[in-house]
């Protein structure tokens, strides 16, 4: 029965596919392997989600070693949801990647790039699926190592510096996480999450537990780029190849957020995290300050990729704000925004990738005249932008709507006003691009430019269309987020 082994296949397939890319280097073959692996993973995550919804939590024992001794893969409504987001956006982005990477990276070391991509992908899925705290750290390192290579493959020389910085900070983040896990292990003698949860919560506010908690929260905040620990992110997204920016923006920070939620809610428990240690307060403050500061910074950027990178940090603020409310509505709103933001940033970075493909630059000037010369690309950009701003009938609206509802429900209505106000900042920075693209004549030295090829446009539009689709037919993102929120607020009970 292969269906029983879906949880392990989810991780192992990309892991096996990675060295295959090195072995089969012929023209386009590495890409084809990566694409097949990604789409298979997408299919598997869809099946897993369906399975979780129909039969409840899936527990998979690796090598038949029963937990807590063996490593357990444990899939509930939360990580099944995140798995689907990660693999779904990757599935669109990998299709986008073929021609985009050829233009930005070249063919010579293509196989190494796709190897690194598959390892990153495998690591991200592994972090999400595993039910073992140390296993989580291992996968986090796998994905981080892959990410460093992906970022460094940008053709700007500053990509190397960006990658180095991420290497330092990512390592610190991972170290913090392993220190936290180490403390927990010292106290409880177990690494299995379910087991940990039961034992940790029995200890209460013990000093070691609190220190472990702090290290884990700060480490995860680094990974998910919560302001002011976001400093590695803008440079990384700016100088990485377009496909990598789209891939990372839609997946890496989301998995970071998942790690935070997993530790804070299911291992330490909402009672301990939010009542005893009142984590909600610092998270809400950092999220809010981050929303305003980084949105304002985004307004002044002259490079669209960098602008979108800062916007990502601001959007992460919305997710963290939702989580910091720690009510059912709030957590669901945060997770919904995780889903929606993956779609909008995927679409936006892909649209920028189309411009880079044709014009060769992501600077704002490069967009001049794009409205007329690349109408489909810019239409996709506008769709993503509208969703980012959060106008009704787009996915972005749904997330913000629930976030505002959650804040009002909690009685924090001034924060609800701030959320709406900060959306106005998004209007400004998106509008700057729209204005240049539609109302400024192209630069004379730019030469003739035509619409991006279909191989880029189709995946971009698939993501842009998803933004509209999930704004209207909201059963997957809304119900999925609520199911996930329910599963973690109830602890490991079900």
């Amino acid at each position: 029965m292969i269906a029983v082994h879906l949880p392990i296949l989810q991780v192992v397939l990309p892991l096996i596919a990675a060295p295959l890319c090195v072995l089969f280097r012929a023209r386009d073959l590495p890409w084809a392997i990566a694409a097949v692996a990604t789409w298979t993973a997408f299919a598997i995550s869809g099946l897993l989600l369906a399975q979780v919804y129909s039969v409840g939590v899936i527990s998979y024992e690796i090598g038949d070693w029963a937990p807590p001794w063996g490593i357990e893969y444990r899939i509930d409504a939360l990580n099944a949801f995140v798995l689907l987001v990660v693999s779904g956006v990757s599935a669109a982005v990998i299709l986008f990647g073929r021609d985009s990477m050829l233009a930005e990276f070249g063919r010579s070391r293509e196989y190494l790039f796709y190897t690194a991509y598959l390892l990153t992908f495998c690591g991200l899925l592994g972090v999400t699926i595993t039910g073992d705290a140390f296993n989580l750290f291992v996968f986090l390192e796998i994905s981080s190592l892959g990410t460093y290579v992906l970022i460094a493959s940008g053709n700007n020389r500053r990509a190397l510096l960006a990658s180095y910085q991420y290497l330092i900070l990512g390592t610190i983040g991972a170290t913090f996480i392993v220190i936290g896990v180490g403390f927990l292990y010292a106290m409880t003698g177990t690494l299995n999450m379910v087991d940990l949860a039961g034992r940790v919560q029995a200890y209460g506010a013990n000093t070691t537990i609190v220190v472990a908690f702090t290290f884990l929260v700060v480490g995860a905040s680094l990974k998910l780029a919560l302001f002011p620990l976001h400093l590695w992110l803008p440079a990384a997204y700016t100088y990485a190849p377009s496909m990598v920016s789209a891939f990372l923006a839609a997946t890496a920070t989301k998995v970071g957020l998942y790690v935070l939620v997993r530790f804070v809610f299911t291992i330490f428990g909402p009672e301990f995290s939010f009542v005893t240690l009142s984590l909600g307060l610092p998270l809400a403050i950092l999220a809010l300050v981050g929303m305003f500061v980084t949105s304002t910074v985004a307004i002044f950027q002259n490079d669209v990729k960098r602008m979108l990178a800062f916007s990502s940090v601001a959007q992460i603020g919305y997710m963290v704000l939702g989580i910091s409310i720690h009510t059912m509505l709030g957590v669901a709103a945060g997770l919904m925004h995780l889903f929606n933001h993956a779609l909008m940033k995927g679409a936006l970075f892909c649209a920028v990738g189309c411009i880079v493909y044709r014009v060769g630059s992501s600077r704002l000037d490069a967009f001049a005249g794009a409205g007329r010369r690349m109408p489909w690309t810019m239409a996709a950009f506008c769709t993503g932008g509208i969703s980012l701003i959060g106008l009704p009938l787009t996915a972005g609206f749904v997330g913000k709507w629930y976030l505002v509802l959650a804040l009002i429900d909690r009685g924090w209505w001034p924060l609800a006003v701030l959320v709406v106000l900060s959306s106005m900042l998004a209007v400004i920075y998106i509008w700057r691009v729209v204005e240049v693209a539609y109302f400024r004549d192209p630069l004379p030295e730019a030469g003739p430019v035509e619409e991006a090829p279909l191989s880029l446009l189709l995946p971009t539009w698939a993501l842009a269309f998803a933004n509209i689709w999930f704004g209207i037919e909201t059963s997957l993102n809304v119900n999925g987020a609520f199911a996930a929120a329910e599963s973690i607020l109830g602890g490991f009970g079900s």
Partner: protein, 560 residues
């Protein structure tokens, strides 16, 4: 094939194909799409369609009833005419914007709930501003910004009203709005901004004259009339609207005196004419509401015709000031005649379309026993004829020869104007088809001896007045030139002088505020600009240092 096809989606999705076509194909498509949408409108039957669930609200895309159909029909007709008029344009953006704009207006008209309405409302604002910007002059750029700022603010007010209304009543169904405190007034203000009710009207007379020649046709037809529709639907019988409407009718006429730009003069008359409709909404009787709806119908056609005539003059001569024009009827005779049909219609000459609808509103005021309102509306009527029917054509087409030798407008423009002119006369002579589609059964006869006599008297004496005073009007032309000089040349000098005199005071009061503002903005830029501390890439060591600081802060926070 379909149970129900939303004309808004036909237009908005159809508009996206325009840029992909070129040459003859595109022109054919530009004619085809509006006709298809008009047929779509015509084929609709009354009822509720396109209901779906968004979050926990029930949205209705299509609520089709008699009131919605009146507006849908005239929008559809005007779109056909406007597309013919704009056929020669090669710029795809304008065509797309016009179709999206018209589609959104239809979306508002058929919206069965406030959220759907709001979405299309915003889409209207953002698509219509393109019709202003597409003129690509510095003035239109600035006017467009002022336009979009006003509408964005109006949109926010409307949205706030809708959210509050939902909180108060738990319903987002768009029907007569219940008076539940602030929500009632917020939504009303949102609607009134789009209806250009003074003092919220300035965007209209500011922006419409700066729009493109063809864009102004759509602008004049859609935004204010959609607002009239929402007022009829939501605010029928709101007493204060009677007064707003009557003041509006006069306000527009009075301000038209100052206008020198022909399209600005026409824009002020939109305000005046919409005043009749708003007053009709306020009265709220069956006759008044029928009058408001039918006046909106005829108004769109004749105002479109007038704007097309003025647009043709601007297109052929490149000038738009009354003082720069004159004596061109010999060169553009057809445009002149067609324009005059529009002029007679807006002035409500018997046998022209304005007569059969405007008298309905005026009659409603009389039937309601509102003497003052009746007088105000009649006064505005005289003023309308004076400016649109006499002054504008006299100084544009007749009058002193300006030395301009334009050719007649292109055929597509003439055909479009001809269609509109035909409808103006047709409705004026044979109003029954219009009366048949009005929301309530019509028990009203326009051509009674009383109406005709009253109207003719009014017009006759206005005309006599104009021609008796023509010498003075001619003489005043110089003065008008002088006044023109005053506010264009002298006023800035005077203002500069005044400003200089008050500079000490200004430095103290506003100077300090400005200084603070400037400092604030430069401070924001200092910290948020591209090379600022918050935006640049930090040295790795510093970054790591801050990570440690954050960790320490957390630990401190938990230990204290």
């Amino acid at each position: 094939m379909f149970e129900w096809l939303h004309p808004a989606f036909v237009l908005i999705l159809g508009a996206l194909i325009v840029p992909l076509l070129a040459g003859r194909m595109r022109q054919a498509y530009l004619l085809l799409l509006p006709v298809v949408s008009l047929l779509t409108i015509h084929s609709m039957s009354h009822g509720t369609f396109g209901t779906f669930q968004l979050l926990d609200m029930s949205l209705t895309l299509g609520r089709v009833d008699a009131l919605a159909m009146v507006f849908a029909y005239v929008f559809g007709i005007m779109l056909v005419i406007g597309s013919i008029y704009a056929l020669h344009l090669e710029e795809a953006l304008q065509h797309v914007a016009a179709f999206v704009y018209a589609g959104s207006a239809l979306g508002v008209v058929f919206a069965g709930d406030l959220v759907t309405l709001y979405v299309f409302w915003e889409a209207m604002a953002f698509s219509s501003v393109l019709l202003i910007w597409c003129r690509r002059e510095p003035e239109s750029w600035a006017a467009g910004w002022r336009y979009i700022l006003v509408h964005a603010a109006g949109g926010v007010i409307l949205l706030a009203g809708i959210v509050l209304y939902y909180a108060e009543t738990g319903s987002i169904v768009f029907d007569a709005i219940e008076n539940v405190g602030p929500a009632f007034y917020l939504i009303l203000v949102g609607f009134m901004i789009n209806a250009a009710v003074p003092p919220l009207h300035a965007w209209l007379s500011d922006a419409y004259p700066e729009a493109t020649v063809t864009g102004a046709i759509f602008l004049s037809a859609l935004t204010t009339k959609t607002a009239v529709y929402t007022l009829i639907r939501g605010y029928a019988g709101t007493e204060m609207l009677v007064w707003f409407g009557a003041v509006m009718a006069i306000y527009g006429v009075v301000y038209a005196v100052l206008a020198n730009d022909i399209r600005r003069l026409l824009a002020y008359h939109i305000i005046s004419q919409v005043g009749y409709m708003v007053a009709g909404v306020g009265m709220g009787t069956i006759l008044a509401l029928n009058g408001a709806a039918s006046h909106a119908f005829t108004h769109i056609l004749y105002k479109g015709l007038l704007f097309m005539g003025a647009g043709a003059v601007i297109y052929m001569t490149g000038r738009s000031k009354l003082t720069d024009l004159g004596g061109i009827y010999r060169y553009m005779p057809i445009t002149f005649v067609l324009y005059m049909i529009g002029g007679f219609s807006i002035s409500a000459f018997p046998l022209f379309s304005g007569f059969v609808s405007k008298t309905m509103v005026v009659e409603a005021a009389a039937a309601d026993g509102r003497g003052i309102i009746w007088l105000m509306l009649s006064f505005a009527s005289a003023g309308t004829f004076l400016h649109t029917g006499l002054k504008l054509p006299y100084f544009t087409f007749l009058g002193q020869d300006s030395g301009l030798r334009p050719r007649e407008a292109p055929a597509n423009m003439l055909i479009a104007m001809g269609l509109a002119a035909f409808l103006c006369i047709f409705i004026g002579v044979y109003p029954d088809p219009l009366y048949a589609i009005l929301p309530a059964p019509v028990d009203y006869h326009a051509y009674t001896v009383g109406h005709v006599l009253w109207e003719l008297q009014l017009l006759l004496f206005t005309g006599v007045g104009f021609f008796v005073l023509l010498k003075h009007v001619g003489g005043e032309r110089k003065i008008s030139l002088d006044t023109d000089w005053v506010y264009r040349r002298a006023a800035p000098v005077v203002i500069r002088g005044v400003v200089a005199a008050f500079r000490p005071v200004q430095t103290v009061v506003s100077g300090r505020t400005l200084l603070h503002m400037e400092r604030f903005i430069s401070r924001v830029f200092e910290y948020h600009g591209p090379d600022s501390i918050l935006a640049r890439t930090w040295p790795t060591g510093t970054t790591v240092f801050w990570v440690v600081v954050i960790l320490m802060l957390y630990l401190l926070f938990y230990y204290l």
